[in-house]
């Protein structure tokens, strides 16, 4: 038997050669951020996956997020997509897309838009994601959580990530959009293909995007033929400056809602359960003081922020001595900002009633997550329903927990055990 030693590509110097897809970073990025943040070079740089910069201090994230002139959102993923589809013997993943969509810049507006398009595209979405608007989906979210718990409570074990957290957002999003919930497993596969495996594999990314575009395009056409009162129906009826919204734009927005509404929220819910499984004192507080849940959700979002979208440097610019070149990416490391000790005392400690918590888990500036109220509602309901019936639970094996990371971080396998039947 031979043992093949794979070359260790773990960065030696995270300040000048970081790799957000390295297993060490995915598993435990917190000490890496601390090291970079405390160094003479708190905006790190790398050439891996293309030239990118990574601020780690709250103040730097705040400044860069608000400068939408120098830092464009035209591309929010860090790894390059590779050669243009269809060239250099690359298969064209968009070949099957209907002809009316070929050569259209579909994107994922408004997350991939800059002003002025961003302004109207965002205003189109905000009213349907307001706290009042998402409250409508709370009863069905609660029923869904109960049903999921019913499925595993008697056994005394559950995968809090794959069997619970991951099951909630796809169904809620499907219900909002007005597409069949039964297909939520398929959505999950596509979204993971796009945002997890696809981040470092352009082929999987392209294929997953194509499948989502094709599926959503069919659903949009179906909504046109059979009008319904749901989010797709709303987008089809909406007008901007007296004109209907172009259908490729509606497609891009539905794509965004599906992608951004699924992977991110389940990551947050999963991390919350990973934390609670290891902190009986926090579970006890939430059970004894249920009114703490709102601030607890904010604190868990701060400590385990899942999302690191990127910006595209629009023109050569210097930021704090960093010579950023046009086309470089800037990783908006809001999760690191949320653990900056200059902004948050004892940043690595989860303090459920942290009184001062201006966290930027949802970003800051004009791209603040439009779905933040939906994510908060899903997180709160998922925790409330679980704790009511399963107040005592712990990790089966802390070493067996697996994480996805890079630009969206959260547990993917997180087995927990509890007294069979709960309580």
């Amino acid at each position: 038997m031979t043992t093949e030693q794979r070359p260790d590509t773990t960065p030696k110097d995270w300040k000048t050669d970081y790799d957000i897809f390295s297993p060490a970073y995915i598993k435990n990025p917190f000490p890496i951020w601390d090291e970079i943040r405390a160094s003479e070079c708190p905006v790190a740089h790398t050439e891996r996956w293309g030239s990118s910069w990574m601020p780690t201090k709250y103040v730097d994230l705040f400044n860069i997020a608000r400068d939408v002139t120098n830092y464009s959102s035209r591309d929010v993923l860090v790894a390059p997509t590779g050669p243009e589809p269809g060239t250099e013997n690359q298969p064209n993943p968009y070949a099957e897309i209907p002809p009316e969509l070929q050569n259209q810049d579909i994107g994922a507006p408004p997350i991939t838009s800059d002003p002025p398009v961003h302004t109207w595209a965002r205003h189109l979405l905000l009213p349907v994601f307001s706290a009042t608007a998402v409250a409508k989906y709370e009863p069905e979210t609660r029923a869904l959580c109960r049903e999921l718990i019913d499925g595993f409570i008697a056994s005394g074990t559950a995968d809090a990530a794959a069997g619970y957290a991951q099951q909630i957002p796809p169904r809620v999003i499907a219900s909002m959009l007005g597409i069949p919930q039964e297909e939520s497993e398929t959505f999950t596969t596509w979204v993971r293909g796009f945002l997890e495996q696809g981040l470092t594999n352009p082929e999987i990314r392209g294929e997953s995007a194509t499948k989502m575009f094709m599926y959503l395009w069919e659903r949009i056409q179906d909504h046109k033929a059979n009008p319904r009162d749901d989010l797709i129906g709303y987008l089809l009826n909406a007008q901007v400056d007296g004109q209907p919204v172009p259908e490729p734009h509606i497609l891009g927005t539905c794509f965004l809602i599906l992608v951004a509404g699924i992977d991110t929220t389940w990551s947050s819910i999963g991390s919350a359960f990973w934390h609670l499984a290891q902190h009986p004192e926090d579970r006890k507080r939430l059970i004894e003081e249920p009114e703490l849940i709102t601030s607890a959700v904010e604190e868990l979002l701060r400590a385990y922020s899942p999302v690191t979208m990127a910006r595209y440097v629009a023109a050569d610019v210097e930021y704090n001595g960093c010579p950023m070149k046009e086309g470089d990416r800037v990783l908006m490391n809001f999760p690191a900002a949320n653990r900056d000790p200059e902004k948050f005392p004892n940043p690595h400690e989860v303090i459920l009633d942290r009184p001062v918590n201006p966290h930027v888990a949802f970003g800051v500036g004009i791209h603040r997550c439009a779905g933040s109220n939906l994510a908060r509602m899903e997180m709160r309901v998922a925790i409330e329903e679980w704790l009511k019936r399963i107040p005592y639970f712990e990790l089966v094996d802390p070493e067996a927990v697996t994480w996805a990371g890079g630009q969206v971080r959260g547990p993917r396998i997180c087995e927990v055990k509890f007294p069979a039947g709960g309580k």
């Binding site: 905000l126 009042t132 201006p358 930027v360 800051v364 500036g365 603040r368």
Partner: protein, 65 residues
């Protein structure tokens, strides 16, 4: 004490409304606006300060009179 929400800076995080719902209202887009002309009723100054420090956009200001 008098406060105001800078509409150029507010991005609709809704944190002020959660921390001090008596002092703010949200419009259909989720943007926050001060109520009662921004006048903070006596005894609510601490809540107003909490809203200010919890705003990620630093959009809430004390109006100097």
């Amino acid at each position: 004490m008098k406060i105001t929400v800078d509409q150029e800076k507010c991005e609709g995080h809704n944190r002020c409304f959660v921390v001090a719902g008596e002092l703010f209202e949200l419009d259909d887009y989720g943007y926050a606006h001060e109520v009662n002309g921004g006048e903070v009723p006596a005894g609510m100054e601490e809540k107003a300060r909490l809203a200010i420090v919890n705003c990620p956009e630093q959009a809430i200001l004390i109006v100097e009179e």
